[in-house]
Symmetry: C2
């Protein structure tokens, strides 16, 4: 394949395959070039470094679960509070599935996160933004008490660290983790529940 | 020093020094033996392996902050809810201090935690037990609503993962971490606050 028509998506596909086969410790840009039948210089014309290439692969791979997660984010059939629980549950189960179904790509994410890569920060930013949107929706529809969405989203994400931080993925197959998550969500949603007025209590 | 009178505490002291000087990747049992002027066989008569020796050092080092933490646990001048907040704050600040003041011993804890060592589990068990005691105290004195102390302690520890898991220590120097912790504790204690009766609301 001449480098002029080398498609960035084809490079990402090949890199994903190479990472799955060799793992992040052994996979090289030269392996990717060999799969595509091009020089490794051709790859570097599209991605300025091995890290940039891996970031692009992992960014695309992480986004693969986004449609499922965004369907919950924008599913307006339930109120904001229930959507928040459902969104967190869906997101975390998607991550748990990714680590068990695609351990080598997950290991690549871990390697990037442990280095100076911005990919962890990008993904945290995206999660925070979506949690903030859900909290604001819950406040607006009265299913959550009137809290500030930004700081509350940060506290919810902090509280969820065990279930979402890539460095802790080894613990995601622990028995009872789903019950542990639901118990934590019970606690968080109790804290955010609207305060009943004395009139409602009297009903 | 002849091995018959070799004091286990002296071995722990020497190992701690060697770990501080060389770090967990380079420190050896032979280094410890050299410091004490004994053969490494003499060390193995007291500790069956390098891991057992390091576990003993790290266990003692972790316990060094226990008096401060236990003073809060048993300080009955405030109610259970306030004691729970104070205990978690004291414990986490002690850990943050340990990682900045003693990075090589903290790195040893991280190496042990990432291997099959039980030391992480031991410490988690101890924290869970103490949180459970505080929740039970809060329920008993009416400063917390009537929850089951065991599962609630698990949820509180899960929610605190960002602030206490050794694998996440690199994030403990983040600006604003103390505010993030207090915001999380606000949320948890709101969830556990006693439910006001309509009569109280009418007051």
């Amino acid at each position: 394949m001449p480098s002029e028509v080398l498609d960035p998506q084809a490079i990402l596909d090949a890199t994903e395959d190479v990472l799955r086969r060799h793992g992040p410790d052994k996979a090289t840009v030269l392996d990717v070039a060999r799969v595509l039948g091009v020089s490794h210089g051709s790859i570097y014309r599209h991605f300025r470094s091995k890290t940039a290439l891996r970031e692009a692969v992992i960014r695309r791979w992480l986004q693969a679960s986004q449609p499922e997660v965004e369907a919950v984010l924008h599913g307006h059939s339930v109120n904001g509070s229930e959507r928040l629980r459902s969104w967190l549950t869906t997101l975390f189960r998607a991550k748990w599935r990714q680590v068990s179904e695609d351990p080598e790509l997950f290991a690549t994410l871990q390697v990037l996160s442990a280095s100076d890569s911005r990919i962890g920060l990008e993904f945290v930013g995206q999660m925070l933004h979506q949690i903030e949107e859900l909290v604001a929706a819950g406040v607006a529809d009265g299913s959550l008490r009137p809290v500030e969405p930004g700081p509350t989203a940060q506290a919810i994400l902090d509280a969820s660290t065990r279930f979402v931080h890539p460095a802790l993925a080894a613990g995601w197959s622990a028995p009872g983790i789903d019950e542990d998550l639901q118990r934590l969500l019970d606690l968080l949603l109790t804290a955010l529940a609207p305060v009943k007025t004395s009139k409602e209590n009297d009903d």
